[in-house]
Amino acid sequence: MQARQLGKTVSSEGEKLTILHEISFSVPTGASLAVVGRSGSGKSSLLALLAGLDTPSVGEVILAGAALQTLDEDGRAAVRGRCAGFVFQSFQLLPELTALENVMLPLELAGVRGAEAQALQWLERVELGHRLHHLPRQLSGGEQQRVALARAFAPGPQILFADEPTGSLDSATGAVVADLLFALNREMGTTLVLVTHDDTLAQRCSHQLRLQAGQMIDWQVPAQTAALEQAA
């Protein structure tokens, strides 16, 4: 995944407001990137641009080989459907579907055969095999986020976008969910983009990008990667 000169400007009451300034970086396949910063620093805006949920004012994003700015809304949706998974702070499970059906949703949207069996395996993987037919409101916050993790990993995405995945959970539950997230990520070899204001969580990622008022003020990569990049 690459971001080149990425910027976003919005109009607010007639005034132009730049919320992201020329951000460039690249994350190799299988690596993990933590986007950190205070509230309002532009973390979620950056995630939205990287995932193609929003369009940049300038610059470009290459996601799984696709230049997102050359695609229309449906084209970007197709890229997301093909190679991206999502985990949100507010879980975003469909309230009228059961845990199992929520996990089946992306598989069915992608027209995968045997969606139910796969979803079942994933729910067992996140230790919710006994809660298959419960509706989201019948699950605790931690359980809901685990369902969301199963839903995100089930289609086997190349990239996983996680927006404050532990933000709505208490610290103990948050830790369990975070462990699960990283374990699955390692296991699946997924590229992870994690938005968080939690530095401990950020430390667990190979790359870190710090934002302040829309500017990238810090970019940390593992020593090995840095050496490689310098050599290149």
């Binding site: 197709a78 469909l94 579907l97 055969r113 969606a115």
Partner: protein, 820 residues
């Protein structure tokens, strides 16, 4: 089928099933079911009643269709009937002298084939039902009494000697056959050629009777109509009995109007529920888009959900309608002369199609624009999409107009009702707005100020709520309060002792004897009116020619001999609507207004009638409205006394004879053999059946309308239910007491309810007055209490939802509500 389509179908079905179970579709589905059930039930009942009445009408003319002619019927009509596989029978009717020994009498001879009657049954004294064989004669009691003849004896007609086989007690087409003014002799058509009666100058009326499947009959009618020659006409039982025609038409108008209202109310509920449904689905769509669904796919998903919804509603609505109408008919079975024929599936299919059109019109644009929800909404909840409300309203209006047109089957009525509804809605919105503006100018304090501010925060929504609430209430009033009054007014038109017999051919010098017979039987003397037969020859000095009229009915009426009378007799069933009363001493005509419109007659026109060779000319002085359902003798054209008094005339009278005193009829005929007494009891009974059925059907439709009205109220009050709850949770979190929140809610909803109640009551009172006077032509008085009662009811209904919200508020913590 590819795996993609299969999984899409499975996903659609699952989302639908789950949303259904979660109550997401509750209001939408309810509104749709009620719309479909109301339209189906009305359609089924009308169809069953119409089938029954058509059957009875067929009985009244002994056939499904009759072609009559003043010359032998060209064989082409019979071969057309053979092509349609219709049963047919030819018949000839003519007056002739019949004799037995020294006695002789003028009789109406009816020569029939063996197949007569094709519909209904011939009743004979012996219990037999067969038409006469060659060489046989059937006579009625009148002819038997006049000729003093017995069964088995031979009578003479023309050159025939026929044996009397039986006495006719009832001919199915007797009431229909007004030309049979004399006693009846029925013979076999095969005897006709030998009778020597069909010579030049004989006044024979030929008839071709036909019966078969309705579709085949209609096909024959369509094929035969353009081929009719001079003196040939297709007779219609409905038209020949104006009182039955009026009863059926009024019943149809009643039912149509009521089902229109149910349809419109349900449409309003659907619009409101669709809006709420759409607003609740932003999150789902945003998530689907995030997970890679294209806009097209989301649209397909939404469309499929709607189709499923319509399918479920069609099944449930159809079942409900079937149960409702079957239950209703079971309840009134005792009042019906015979079980109704079954209904077809057409009303249900139509209603389901209309329901789908309504749903697609009302909810389609909203649900389709949902597909444009930005996926970014998963991160920014405040992002929504501009829903094409304009398209929603435009399409809903279009769908509703289509439905109105389908139900009303009349563009003018559809436009009046549709335009009226739209006008009323706009008027309501404007009035509501003005009232709220006026309220805002007041210096309110505390809770009242907060309540008013909350109401005015979303003025568009508030006005929509107000209009919907008003419309719902208005529908309820129109139906519950007004319907019983309307039905009573209608029933009052046919009093329980409506005349069941008509007497014609009574001579002026017989009036004293006639009255004396009634006095002897202990009955009041019936009113006797003069009657003169006349042919209309000139209209403003121009000869009257049937070809000049485009309408077949006008052609027939212009050709027919008119029954004229003199002396105006203003009654409830016969009222002057335009022009001054007739002056007995000055020549002038008074014309029934519908006939005047049909034949293009206006006040001041000169009309000339040929009465027994005398041309009588006078100007039209006034127009009258006649209620043919009153079963009294009424005339299309009445002249001033001076104009007609000295011309040869007979008398007509009508009277009610209780079943126990039926013997008076043969007594009268024996004393005055020239009299013709027509028993209209059969027609009267049919009119009563129509009224019984129609009023029961109406009650059912009213129940449906009330349900539709309640759904509208529910949908209107639900529109911002969750917002209100969230606000309350916030206020409570900020420390407001439940009592304070309750006060605000109460004030808000009572104000809304009172406003809606006031507007609805006023509108309903005006609407009832309009419907009664203009559409159903019944007397009606403006009910001043209705608006007042309506205010109270509006407040109570609107208050119910506060109760529900308060109940929920007391049971849910602010955190949970905010999290919702």
């Amino acid at each position: 089928m590819s795996a993609g389509i299969l999984s899409q179908l499975r996903l659609t079905a699952r989302l639908f099933r789950r949303s259904l179970a979660a109550g997401e579709y509750k209001t939408l589905l309810l509104a749709l079911i009620i719309a479909i059930a109301a339209l189906t039930a009305v359609g089924m009942l009308t169809e069953r009643v119409e089938r029954q009445l058509l059957g009875q009408a067929s009985e009244l003319q002994a056939a499904d269709a009759v072609l009559s002619s003043d010359h032998p019927i060209p064989p082409k009509f019979a071969s057309l009937a053979a092509q349609q596989r219709l049963a047919s029978a030819e018949m000839a009717i003519f007056p002739s002298m019949v004799s037995f020994g020294q006695e002789a009498s003028l009789a109406s001879v009816k020569a029939v084939g063996a197949a007569y009657p094709l519909r209904g049954q011939l009743s004979l004294q012996s219990g037999a039902t067969q038409a006469p064989q060659p060489g046989e004669a059937l006579i009625d009691a009148r002819l038997r009494d006049v000729l003093q003849i017995q069964v088995g004896q031979q009578l003479k007609v023309g050159q025939l000697q026929l044996t009397v086989r039986d006495i006719i007690t009832r001919e199915p087409d007797a009431a229909f056959d007004f030309s049979s003014l004399q006693a009846r002799l029925m013979i076999n058509a095969a005897d006709l050629p030998a009778s020597g009666l069909l010579g030049f100058g004989s006044r024979v009326k030929y008839r071709l009777l036909l019966a078969g499947e309705p579709a085949a009959v209609n096909a024959w009618l369509a094929a035969a109509q353009p081929q009719l020659g001079r003196g040939e006409a297709i007779e219609n039982a409905r038209e020949s009995r104006p009182e039955l025609k009026e009863a059926i038409e009024r019943a149809e108008r009643f039912l149509r109007l009521a089902s229109l209202l149910a349809g419109v109310l349900a449409a309003v509920a659907i619009v409101l529920a669709a809006r709420r449904f759409a607003l609740r689905h932003f999150d789902t769509v945003a998530l689907l888009r995030t997970l890679g669904a294209s806009q097209r796919r989301v649209r397909a998903l939404m469309l499929a959900q709607m189709l499923l919804l319509a399918g479920v509603a069609a099944l449930a609505g159809g079942a409900l309608a079937w149960l409702a109408q079957a239950g209703l008919l079971w309840l009134i079975a005792a009042q019906l002369p015979a079980p109704l024929p079954p209904a077809s599936l057409w009303p249900w299919l139509w209603a389901s199609a209309l329901g789908l059109v309504l749903l697609l019109g009302a909810a389609g644009p909203v649900l389709l624009s949902l597909a444009r929800t930005p996926p970014l909404r998963v991160l920014r909840r405040e992002l929504t999409v501009d829903v094409h409300w304009f398209w929603q309203y435009a399409l809903t209006l279009l769908a509703m107009m289509g439905i109105l047109l389908q139900i009303a089957k009349d563009i003018k009525l559809a436009v009046i009702v549709g335009g009226g509804m739209l006008g009323a809605l706009l008027l309501l919105a404007a009035l509501g707005w003005l009232l709220l503006q006026a309220l805002q100018r007041w210096r309110w304090q505390g809770s009242a100020r907060l309540a008013l501010r909350q109401m005015l925060r979303q003025p568009g929504l508030l006005l929509a709520q107000l209009a919907a609430l008003t419309l719902g209430l208005c529908g309820l009033w129109l139906l519950t309060v007004v319907q019983s009054d309307l039905l009573q007014a209608w029933r009052a038109q046919v009093p329980p002792e409506a005349p069941n017999h008509f007497v014609i051919n009574l001579q002026p010098e017989q009036i004293a004897t006639f009255n004396a017979q009634f006095a002897a039987a202990g009955l009041p003397a019936p009113k006797v009116q003069p009657m003169i037969r006349g042919r209309w020859t000139l209209h403003n000095q121009q000869p009257v020619q049937p070809q000049q009229y485009s309408e077949p009915r006008a052609q027939r009426l212009s050709e027919r001999e008119f029954n004229l009378s003199w002396g105006e007799d203003e009654r409830a069933d016969n009222q002057r609507v335009q022009g001054p009363p007739l002056n007995a001493a000055v020549p002038g005509w008074s014309v029934e207004q519908e006939l005047a419109v049909l034949l293009g007659i206006k006040i001041g026109d000169q009309l000339t009638f040929d009465i027994a060779g005398t041309a009588v000319t006078a100007p039209v002085i006034n127009l009258r409205a006649v209620n043919w359902g009153s079963f009294r003798a009424n005339f299309f054209v009445v002249g001033s006394e001076q104009l007609l008094r000295d011309l040869p005339s007979s008398r007509i009278s009508s009277f009610y004879l209780p079943p126990a005193q039926r013997t008076l009829v043969p007594q009268l005929v024996r004393g005055m053999p020239n009299l013709t007494i027509i028993d209209v009891g059969q027609v009267l009974a049919q009119v009563e059946t129509v009224i019984t059925l129609a009023s029961s059907a109406l009650r059912l439709v009213f129940v449906m309308c009330v349900l539709a009205g309640l759904t509208v109220l529910l949908a209107a009050l639900e529109t911002n239910d969750s917002e209100r709850r969230r606000e309350a949770a916030l206020m409570r979190a900020l420390g407001a007491s439940t009592a304070r929140i309750a006060r605000i809610w109460w004030l808000e909803s009572l104000l809304l309810g009172a406003l809606a109640g006031l507007l609805a009551g006023t509108l309903a009172a005006l609407g009832a007055w309009y419907v009664a006077t203009a559409v159903l032509k019944l007397p009606w008085v403006f009910n001043v209490w209705l608006p007042l009662a309506s205010i109270v009811a509006g407040m109570a209904l609107s208050g119910l939802t506060v109760w529900r919200r308060l109940w929920a508020l007391a049971r849910t913590s602010p955190v949970l509500m905010l999290r919702e």
